[in-house]
């Protein structure tokens, strides 16, 4: 295709991505180094006879508004927002590392800093959910593959639901069941013999529930892809393995898994990136007292009466950096693919 034709074909989509993805990233970068203007203060001297003169400091509403209107971005503060207590908290972290006596103490104190708290949960979630999704997805794929042909369709239909359904809704549906008043929460209280056991009261239980949600939501994705991979399994290799007297487990270990390996890497990479943005379950489970994620952290700053754009932008930039680390292996893979084709 000639350059000119290509240009006209790609123009609308390229414009959309340039204006609404690339520019916002620049805008986020800019906003993260500007802080809102502080209110303009003026000193007013009021003199009353007999009492004398008092000097009062008040906010000059008009001047503040003027200033904010003239420079909507705010004042340039460099990397200050990144290093403040709400983000990387360099001062506090330095203090924690010099003054704490044990590792647990260090972690406890780090977990009190909002950004590290969010990052801690996000990373735990990402690196716990991903392997479980792979394992469960793989088992379900093997299981469905062994089912009677008529049953397969039904099982695939119901398996898709947790993945296709709106994440917030999926989270709510689960939450209403495992809440202390819900059927599963009730059953767990009864089994444990502890009527006070409740998600709302226990941080570790909340983390556990969120991770269960993550696995429940994403396992169908892994399952569908592995199941499709199983359909292309070369029959002659399995037959050869059987002739050599390989057990079922050995067939899976030495024929099926190597055959699915490219798909396993694909699912793992996609899952790492997707789990890193965990957000809706925290809203659905009403979990922010026990667990926050980086996405929730940004959302929280943006919402409400005080929209803290600078703080949210700084967290966004840090989150994007985190995503880039996870994205790196994907890019290398795409580059290799391209080289192979070229």
């Amino acid at each position: 295709m000639r350059h000119k034709t290509f240009f006209w074909f790609i123009l609308p989509t390229a414009m959309a991505m340039l204006l609404f993805i690339a520019f916002p990233i620049i805008s986020v970068l800019l906003q993260s180094v500007y802080a809102p203007h502080p209110a303009v203060l003026i000193k007013v001297e009021t003199c009353t006879p007999l009492v004398g003169c008092t000097e009062e400091t008040t906010i000059d509403q008009e001047a503040t508004r003027e200033l904010r209107k003239a420079e909507p971005l705010g004042r340039f503060v460099g990397l200050d927002i990144f290093f403040d207590r709400g983000h990387l908290a360099l001062k506090e972290v330095n203090e924690i590392f010099t003054n704490s006596d044990s590792w647990t103490n260090t972690f406890d104190r780090l977990a009190n800093l909002p950004f590290y708290r969010a990052m801690g949960f996000t990373l735990t979630f990402t690196f716990l959910v991903t392997p479980f999704v792979l394992i469960i997805g793989f088992c379900v794929a093997l299981m469905v593959n062994a089912l009677h042909a008529r049953l397969k369709g039904i099982v695939i239909f119901f398996s898709l639901l947790p993945f296709v359904v709106t994440p917030l809704i999926g989270a709510l549906v689960l939450f209403w069941m495992i809440d202390s008043r819900g059927i599963l929460g009730n059953a767990v209280q009864w089994l444990a013999g502890d009527p006070n056991l409740s998600l709302k009261a226990s941080t570790s239980l909340m983390w556990f529930a969120l991770i269960i949600y993550g696995i429940w939501h994403a396992a169908p994705f892994a399952f569908v892809i592995f199941y499709a991979g199983l359909q292309t399994l070369p029959a002659d290799q399995i037959e050869a393995a059987q002739l050599d007297g390989a057990s079922r487990w050995q067939q899976i270990r030495y024929v099926v898994i190597p055959h699915l390996m490219p798909l396993i890497t694909f699912v793992a990479l996609i899952q790492l990136m997707d789990n890193f943005r965990v957000f809706e379950p925290i809203v659905g489970f009403n979990a922010s007292a026990h667990a926050t994620s980086l996405s929730w952290f940004i959302f929280n700053d943006l919402g409400g009466e005080t929209r803290q754009f600078s703080a949210a932008s700084a967290s966004s930039v840090l989150t994007i950096m985190g995503v880039s680390v996870l994205l790196f292996p994907v890019l290398i893979r795409t580059w290799r693919d391209f080289q192979r084709k070229a």
Partner: protein
């Protein structure tokens, strides 16, 4: 030689069917439970005193004289005007899917027919954009949108969702168009068509399976979005998912949880129907990316 399928011992068969039953329960039961419970009163839905209330609706009978009630739906759809939110959702989904497919097919087609290295770099940039969590971009939208006075409007959100959708749409359609032989449009061009003519008369008739699959995923993205829509829409333009989140804020205090339950079930129904009719396309769309990537 023996058959390709080894006979399974009975114990393995039992294990497989047991696992299948558990898996079905895990994936489907929460939805069935919620649908069933949505026709009950709150004390039955959250039955602390006796869990069988949730099944037979004792409290619902005490209050309404029959085991099922539409009170939750009535409260959500009529008193809280959930119909407005569902209307907004369908307006947004319709325009997002149409726009995103129109510009996506043009772009995806061009990417699949050009061999210069810039196509690779465009695809890589799209991949990077796909990896961005949408919420990180929202901070970048809000200040300019407030300045230009376009915050809170449906068209603004539609354009943003279209853009967020593009990277995925481009990848899907690009790999789909690569499977349509190049010789088709080459021969059309030999017959005197322009590139666009070849696209119009040769490619468009052959592209519908791929476009439908991609369209389904665009629809799901727009329908399921919470981060962008809840931040960029004003209260009267809210779609269903942020509306449910807003219900939650008020209902836990006012004791109207059943409104939220009814709204949740109502929002799930279209998705349920979608999966029922388009199961094949969804599965093939999910696997297309994996097999090629």
């Amino acid at each position: 030689m023996g058959s390709t399928i080894q006979r399974r011992p009975l114990s393995l068969k039992i294990l497989i069917y047991l696992f299948a039953t558990i898996w079905l329960l895990v994936s489907a039961f929460p939805f069935l439970w919620t649908v069933w419970g949505s026709f009950k009163v709150e004390l039955d839905f959250f039955s602390i005193s006796d869990w069988t209330f949730a099944l037979f609706g004792d409290r619902t009978i005490a209050e309404y004289g029959r085991p099922f009630t539409g009170a939750g739906y009535d409260g959500a759809w009529i008193s809280n005007e959930f119909w407005r939110n569902s209307l907004n959702t369908f307006i947004i989904c319709f325009f997002v899917v149409c726009t995103s497919l129109t510009i996506g097919t043009l772009g995806g087609y061009a990417l699949s027919r050009s061999n210069y290295s810039y196509t690779f770099w465009l695809l890589v940039i799209a991949l990077i954009f796909r990896a961005m969590p949408p919420i990180t971009l929202v901070a970048g939208y809000m200040l300019p949108f407030f300045e230009w006075n376009v915050w809170g409007l449906l068209p603004t959100t539609i354009i943003v969702l279209v853009a967020i959708n593009q990277p995925f749409t481009l990848w899907m359609l690009h790999s789909f168009f690569q499977n349509i032989p190049k010789e088709l449009d080459e021969s059309a061009k030999v017959d005197g068509c322009t590139q666009f003519g070849a696209f119009r008369y040769v490619i468009i008739p052959a592209m519908w399976p791929g476009v439908i699959t991609t369209g389904l995923f665009s629809f799901l993205l727009a329908y399921n979005d919470f981060a962008v829509t809840s931040m960029l829409l004003s209260e009267e333009n809210r779609t269903m998912v942020p509306a449910i989140a807003a219900f939650l804020g008020t209902t836990y205090t006012e004791g109207n949880v059943m409104f939220a339950v009814a709204a949740v079930v109502s929002t799930t129904v279209p998705l349920f129907i979608l999966v029922m009719f388009f199961q094949k396309q969804i599965v093939s769309g999910l696997t297309a990316g994996a097999v090629k990537g």
